[in-house]
């Protein structure tokens, strides 16, 4: 695998370069005003120029997103485990998880500020958005364990804990890791959306604040520079989680092996 990783990276980079070039040409060719769509070169320039403000904002948002992801992982997995123990628990708990998932907390973020500090409110929103995919996929994974293997563990009277560690956890890994990858992206956009909604402002503000502030000031290149940072952060999170997936599954799971042989 490591031998082809260089070539693996080449194609997406080439495609990316092509897309950026087309964008640059389009903006120049049609003389699109900066406040409608800035050229990539201008965005890059802004990124360099405003790096201090933008990177410190990125750190704030990233910290929130990662904390939310960690909590969502803990919470999602714990709940999935609980639910997998019995149908009654599932029926009692699941409706609440769904309500939490579909309630647009973002919409009541202002209200949330009544109960919570802004930073905490943002964390709660990001957590709620990332939580459900992890729960749902971990649940699917835990429910899909090969019954023959469960019987094997039953035969040896494995303790629930050993059964979890040695059987259910590894069996649920592929689905769980997919949930984690989904949750990784969602925690980031959840954090941004929540920052927008909760409007944590001033010092220590995250990227969403910089984005809306830049928008308010019609500094669209900075807006896009901030967006580019978020995207890069998201792609990095995703890439790290994909690598993790690869490392965990490559030896045995179909999905992590090549498409061909």
């Amino acid at each position: 695998m490591s031998k082809v990783s260089f070539r693996d990276a080449l194609l997406p980079l080439a495609v990316l370069a092509g897309a950026l070039a087309a964008w640059e040409a389009g903006v120049r060719g049609f003389a699109i005003p900066t406040y409608v769509l800035p050229a990539p070169s201008l965005i890059a320039e802004t990124l360099v120029k405003d790096r201090e403000i933008l990177f410190s904002a990125l750190l704030v948002t990233l910290a929130t997103a990662l904390e939310a992801l960690a909590l969502a992982t803990l919470g999602g997995v714990a709940l999935a485990l609980l639910i997998s123990r019995s149908r009654a628990l599932e029926r009692a708990i699941m409706p609440f998880a769904i309500v939490l998932q579909v309630t647009p907390i973002i919409a009541i973020a202002p209200l949330l500020l009544v109960y919570l500090e802004p930073a905490r409110a943002v964390l709660v929103c990001a957590f709620l958005v990332a939580f459900f995919p992890i729960l749902a996929n971990a649940s699917l994974g835990l429910a899909s364990v090969d019954r023959a293997l469960v019987e094997l563990f039953d035969l040896y009277r494995a303790s629930p804990w050993r059964k979890l560690i040695l059987l259910r956890a590894p069996a649920a890994l592929p689905q769980f890791l997919t949930g984690l990858r989904i949750g990784g992206g969602l925690s980031l956009i959840g954090a941004i959306a929540a920052e927008l909604a909760a409007g944590a402002a001033g010092q220590g503000a995250g990227l969403a604040f910089r984005i809306s502030e830049a928008g308010y000031r019609l500094d669209i290149p900075r807006m896009f520079a901030a967006l580019a940072l978020v995207s890069a952060a998201g792609v990095t999170i995703y890439g790290a989680l994909t690598l993790l997936t690869h490392l965990c599954l490559r030896r045995w799971h179909e999905s992590a092996r090549g498409k061909g042989e």
Binding site: P33, Y35, G199, A201, G202, S212, R217
Partner: protein
């Protein structure tokens, strides 16, 4: 010193200048107050924070909110109005057939939700604006810039500056106050229970804020500006200067009643006049007991009028 917190409705800007002034020049301290300013933002709802007791005072944008609180039986009371004119404006592109106020109803209008459910309802009734023309304004003027045949809401002191800088033209600006929108603005609101239990504290906060505003407008406001820029590093000096100039030029803070009664002035007649317009537009039921929503007992005391230089008395 009594610790009190005051929530603004936006990120620190010149429109909050008097409050920052009172903090930095020691006016609040002189009145026995230790004031912490809590900045607002596009989605924050300072009045919820006030109602829930998370802050002691908050800044109200206009009287519509005051009436809403009465309607919802929220015990929030406006005790002073630092702006005599609501700085809300409409802007249009010059030379696009939208150069007169009467032209505006035919244009696509970028309006924020808060104004849509309030001021705009009156504009509909009074000037024939149409809701079908409205697109959401979310504090980003790019859609307005991109569409010559559109109008957008804004603050007199704010949006026109960036439009001129980024869009490369000076937009037509229509101050709604000039067209009959006579709401107060930048009010100080507090809970009814605070008034009942600590009327003295309320009075001191109102008085000190008023004095802060006099100093900000007519004295040395460099320290206040610095404090604003510290709270909101994105605020440029140019923007601050522009806002300050516009506030003075159009008498946003100090004009009309405030010339005689002092900054912060509120009169029952003015409140009633605005309420009648809103009631007529169907925004509020005509029998709403608006007296619950405000009180003039803390203002109109000519506090600080002596701080206004003589030549400033003839502002428009």
């Amino acid at each position: 010193l009594d610790k009190v917190s005051f929530a603004t409705n936006w990120r620190a800007q010149a429109e909050h200048g008097g409050f920052y002034q009172a903090v930095v020049d020691g006016t609040y301290a002189k009145y026995g107050l230790d004031v912490g300013i809590v900045q607002g933002g596009p989605q924050s709802n300072a009045r919820l924070l006030l109602a829930a007791g998370r802050v002691d005072f908050c800044m109200g944008a206009n009287l519509i909110q005051t009436f809403s609180a009465v309607q919802q039986k929220a015990p929030i009371v406006a005790v002073a109005s630092l702006f005599q004119k609501d700085p809300i404006i409409f802007m249009s592109h010059p030379g696009a057939g939208l150069d007169r106020f009467e032209d505006l109803p035919k244009a696509t209008a970028f309006i924020g939700n808060d104004n849509l459910v309030s001021v705009f309802q009156w504009l509909r009734q009074a000037y024939g604006f149409k809701e079908e023309k409205v697109k959401p304004y979310t504090f980003n003027s790019a859609p307005f810039l991109a569409d010559k045949n559109s109008i957008q809401q804004g603050y007199l002191t704010s949006e026109p500056f960036e439009i001129a800088r980024q869009g490369g033209f000076t937009p037509n600006v229509f101050l709604l106050a000039d067209y009959g929108h006579d709401s107060y603005s930048t009010t100080i609101e507090t809970r009814a229970e605070t008034i009942a239990a600590k009327a003295d504290l309320v009075q001191r906060f109102v008085d000190a804020s008023i004095i802060g505003w006099y100093h900000y407008l007519y004295g040395d406001h460099a320290a206040a500006d610095a404090a604003i820029r510290k709270d909101n590093p994105e605020m440029s000096e140019g923007q601050l200067a522009y806002s300050y100039a516009k506030m003075k030029e159009r008498g946003i803070v100090d004009s009309g009643d405030s010339l005689t009664l002092g900054i912060g002035a509120m009169t029952d007649a003015r409140v009633k006049s605005f309420f009648d317009k809103m009631a007529k537009a169907g925004v509020f039921p005509a029998d709403l007991d608006i007296a619950k929503g405000y009180t003039t007992r803390f203002v109109n005391k000519k506090i600080g009028v002596e701080l206004r230089p003589a030549q400033a008395a003839s502002a428009p």
